[in-house]
Symmetry: C2
Subunit: 396 residues, 2 copies
């Protein structure tokens, strides 16, 4: 077990769970569990200087991660992705300090590698032999990848109209891939059945506590790459929202140990107009989102009608003075072209959505010219050949 | 101009060319030119320790690279890719120290990003406004990408049956893409015509001196990542062979400044059975290769019937006591599956070819069990959806 993990806590009912045993959701209220660390001990055990000398992967922050035995870490070079200055694009809008965190340069071409690397490593430490998850595409590829590297069997269910590339990668990694005639929720039912019948470990989004810890490294890296200064805003494309919850927790942990100081950045959540449950809940000042019927957007990672961690995302946004907004597919497509043509960045439509959001927030006076802004590109456009073609056709 | 570049030298006729002006091939004999550095001054100007503290991209080795003004560097996070231990696979063949250099984790999903980053940066330093190149696919994408980031117009010609993904990426980066009814040699003719008519800079493989310098960083990284110890062998999939020439030069430069010592690794070149001009020339002890008619292999990067730098590749292999061998497409496909299923590595068919070569060389007694071997994966399978499907279908 990790030297620094103290407990798994339910953020809704505060019930503590034993981190030394395998856990999924809170046994009392079925909320996702969050990992707590002994930050006082962590502070004395590691320094910024020590971390800066380590291999540039997300595991350079291993004291902030839940895997205790380093030999259990399954790493393929994930994380420590580039933070690229894109002010050449945003200067036209009066913004001179904007960076894009390019998480397309991860194994499997998406930020899902962070969650899978951490989740699979922890599963390996627990001796788990088989994991299962429903997916819209990229998470399935990432877990299939890390499961293969770890020798853990991965059972994936995805809608049969999921991108061909995600089906191919799951099969090439040797995962058990089941195609479902329906939505990701139907894939979820298929997986739940397998879990009941075969005892697979449930690795669906936020149904195990460790995927989020991998995503947390996004926040740690942004802080380190900006010289341990916090930006004024971080703009994140939220489907399940695991990444923004992770970033929020990472920055709070860094502040608690004194590595960064001052106000946390405003955490800004972007969704698609065709599927914006978090935006609606934010605007209506609700603590949770409602299921969004007929979710539609070409940014497949944003096609999440109701996220299990919605209340945490909304809390992160509100606590930091952030906001939530929805952008159109046409604007995503336009920003995919702009990022490629002007900066050589091959962004997923979800990543492009964050740039569309920045443009709008500046217009609306919600981001100012001297502010330091980081946007997150969650994947490579290579994982989205269909979206690329649509962006080019200008059909959006 | 770079602080350390002293000359551009023709390796065939030894004629020196001025590095302060724009150069292509040797004006006397039409050979590729190689960049020479003042290694004595370089040795005193930078240390291993300084380099280890820099950002993990190939530009951490900037003293070994030809761009003098750091503001001209066009970087998207290329290089310093992971070196992954794959002994879990090779142990079955008695090999316990084998690493894969995963260059699929570059911008554009291929090692071509190294050459393009260096070549475009140097073109920018020279004030060049338009470059042109023929391509089988990945180089076109990489130059389109870095050209977009630099604000340099990129003219690309590729066979109209080149992978759809390479066409899409060139167009999304805003390059001028011309599809040619024919082979890459026909694309070359199209580009040559544009160069004559419009004065574009010729950026075809080895026709300008700087692409190879970017590839050189592969060798620098392998040395650093192995703790400045040289491996016993490096296995490289050779199409144009630029990478292996670069690795050879990098290691000789490192030895000249005393950062590494001992024998250079045996440089081993792998080609496809359906296109093996370098292997044939090596076996027949010829100094150059002959044009390979009807080149056929699903590893499109290896479909190069005659490389401009063939004599340099053969010299590198012979001088280091290496060898050259051809593998079948079926073996590449099998190794794509093996790397994915057993190590979570999503290798291009060219990268998979190197693992097939290692298996054979061990069987033939040309690699020994206690040797340290590095194989190069030149790209991500994400750039090869057709090859992925074929590998899965077992149709090879």
């Amino acid at each position: 077990m990790s030297a620094f993990v103290t407990a798994l806590i339910c953020p809704r009912c505060q019930l503590q769970h034993d981190p030394q045993t395998i856990q999924n959701l809170c046994v009392a209220c079925q909320s996702p569990l969050l990992v707590e660390y002994d930050l006082d001990r962590l502070r004395t055990a590691v320094s910024k200087e020590t971390i800066s000398e380590r291999t540039p992967t997300m595991w350079r922050y291993r004291e902030f991660l839940p895997v205790g035995d380093p030999t259990q870490i399954v790493s393929l070079g994930e994380g420590f992705t580039p933070l690229l200055n894109i002010s050449s694009i945003t200067r036209a809008w009066g913004l001179t300090q904007v960076w894009l965190k390019d998480d397309g340069l991860n194994p499997t071409g998406s930020f899902k590698a962070r969650g899978a690397s951490c989740g699979i490593s922890k599963a390996k430490e627990f001796g788990i032999r088989a994991v299962a998850l429903p997916t819209a595409g990229n998470a399935g590829g990432a877990w299939a990848c890390y499961g293969a590297a770890a020798g853990i069997r991965v059972h994936v269910a995805m809608p049969k109209d999921a991108p061909a590339i995600n089906q191919l990668e799951c099969r090439l990694y040797g995962a058990d891939l089941q195609l479902v005639d329906g939505l990701i929720s139907d894939a979820g039912k298929k997986i739940a059945q397998g879990i009941r019948e075969h005892g697979w470990f449930d690795a669906a989004t936020l149904k195990e506590p460790y995927r989020i810890e991998g995503k947390k490294t996004l926040g740690l890296e942004i802080a380190e790459q900006l010289g341990w200064q916090l930006p004024d805003a971080i703009v994140y494309p939220a489907g399940g929202g695991v990444g923004i919850i992770g970033i929020w927790r990472a920055l709070k942990q860094l502040r608690a140990i004194g590595w960064v100081s001052g106000k946390l950045p405003r955490l800004i959540v972007v969704q698609a107009e065709g599927c914006a449950p978090l935006v609606k809940a934010f605007e209506e000042q609700q603590p949770e989102s409602e299921f969004w019927p007929n979710a539609r957007t070409f940014a497949s990672g944003l096609r999440v009608p109701k996220a299990l961690g919605d209340f945490l995302v909304l809390q992160a946004v509100r606590e930091t003075g952030g906001t939530a907004l929805a952008v159109s597919d046409a604007d995503c497509a336009r920003m995919m072209r702009l990022l490629a043509e002007r900066a050589g960045i091959f962004a997923a439509p979800e990543g492009a959505a964050t740039l569309a959001a920045v443009e709008r927030l500046q217009e609306e006076g919600k981001i100012f010219s001297d502010e330091r802004v980081v946007i997150i590109n969650t994947g490579s456009a290579l994982k989205y050949p269909e979206a690329m073609a649509e962006a080019l056709a200008g059909q959006m």
